[in-house]
Structure formats: structure tokens, C-alpha cells
């Protein structure tokens, strides 16, 4: 069973992909690591970023966190606030 999630993009990731959200189709039980692998495959330009974290529902997520279709998912490139 597949589910579809929207991934929010900011800063450099939005510029590289030209999009502020990317729809991603996930396999049942897919985790954050799977999502990142899939995104890197679809958008090879993302590989050029120094680091890429994932936030799920507004919290930094480990790569083994399982995703569900209700999650709010965001890519977090290196932050530079302040």
C-alpha cells in the first residue's frame, strides 16, 4: 500500500528544486531515511547541500522514524538564522 505525502521545502532546497512543496509517494512503513533516498534520486541537485535533515510534525526526526500520510514533513537544509 502506497501513501502520498507533501514535503515542505525552504531556502536552498526550494531554489534547487524550483518548488516549495514536493509530493512524494511512500511505501507502507517507509521511514525518514527512505524519504531522503527517494528525494536524492528524484532531485540529484540536493546532494550538493552540506547537510539535509528532516522535520516531522515540527520536530527534527531520526532516519529510522516511520512516516505516515498525516505527517507534516519538511526538509531542513543547514540553518542560518540569527
Amino acid at each position: 500500500m502506497n501513501s502520498s505525502v507533501s514535503v515542505l521545502l525552504f531556502g536552498i532546497t526550494r531554489d534547487l528544486t524550483g518548488q516549495s512543496t514536493i509530493p512524494v509517494s511512500l511505501n507502507e512503513g517507509a521511514n525518514v531515511g527512505d524519504l531522503l533516498a527517494q528525494l536524492h534520486q528524484s532531485y540529484p541537485a540536493l546532494t550538493g547541500i552540506r547537510s539535509l535533515l528532516v522535520a516531522v510534525n515540527g520536530e527534527y526526526a531520526e532516519t529510522d522514524l516511520t512516516l505516515t500520510s498525516n505527517d507534516e514533513i519538511a526538509l531542513i537544509p543547514p540553518v542560518s538564522g540569527g
Binding site: 525552504f10 538564522g81 540569527g82
Partner: protein
């Protein structure tokens, strides 16, 4: 108090937020847009935030500072949008009874903001632009 705003940051207003009769020391840190980065002239900065998470991460930092230092009042204000040279990008204000705590808490907050809060800044130069920290 945590604020993420597109409006210019008002220092006098922020001061009022952190006044306390028990306060003997107030430290206010301002991050300001400067006219160059490694001697390359900057025209302006553009800040973008993942709002909901930026606010919750700033709140975590404030809560953590509260457990480490006896903070009476604090305010953290982060700007977003387009900022011109000389404008304030971030204001941290901490009121404590004694000065060492105010300095240390204020510095901890700004240092940690720069590490964990999902806010991004693009430097716009006269000849190009660049997301800060994005590339290796």
C-alpha cells in the same frame, strides 16, 4: 516571549517586555545586517523561516536557558523577509538579578538559535546571491 515577525524590531518595545523590579542586569544582543561578508559587499539579506518549527525551536532554547540560569524575563525576536543593511535580524533580551547570568544566558540563546532554529538567510550581493551555510 518568542516572536517571529516581518516587521522591523523595536528595541524600546522589547526593553519593556523584559523589565522587572527584581532585575539588576539586562543583556540585549542584536544581530544586525552588515554591509559585507568576508569583504564581499552585501546589498541586503532575505530571511525565510519554517514558522511553526522556528517558534517551537526558539521556545525550546528559552526553556533550556531557563533551567540553566535564573532568568527573570526574556524576549527573543527574530525577523524574516527582506532586511536592509543596519536592520536588526534578531534581538535577544535577558533580565536577571546578577550580570553573569544575563551575559551567559543571552549568549547561549543566540549561539543555539544559530545551530537549531529553521531559519535561512540568503545574502544578496551586487553580483549574485547565496544561501548562507548551504554549501560545503
Amino acid at each position: 516571549m518568542i516572536t517571529l515577525t516581518s516587521d522591523p524590531i523595536d528595541v524600546a518595545l522589547a526593553m519593556k517586555d523584559i523589565q522587572s523590579e527584581q532585575a539588576g542586569a539586562i543583556d540585549i544582543f542584536l544581530g544586525v545586517v552588515r554591509d559585507n561578508t568576508q569583504e564581499r559587499p552585501v546589498d541586503r539579506l532575505e530571511y525565510e523561516a519554517y514558522d511553526r518549527m522556528a517558534i517551537s525551536e526558539m521556545q525550546k532554547i528559552a526553556d533550556s536557558a531557563h533551567t540553566r540560569w535564573p532568568i527573570l524575563r526574556y524576549t527573543i525576536i527574530h525577523r524574516k523577509g527582506t532586511l536592509q543593511i543596519g536592520e536588526i535580524a534578531v534581538l535577544i533580551g535577558v533580565a536577571t538579578a546578577h550580570r553573569a547570568d544575563a551575559f551567559e544566558a543571552c549568549r547561549y540563546i543566540i549561539d543555539t538559535i544559530k545551530q537549531t532554529v529553521p531559519i535561512w538567510k540568503k545574502e544578496v550581493f551586487t553580483n549574485g546571491e547565496e544561501w548562507v551555510n548551504a554549501h560545503p
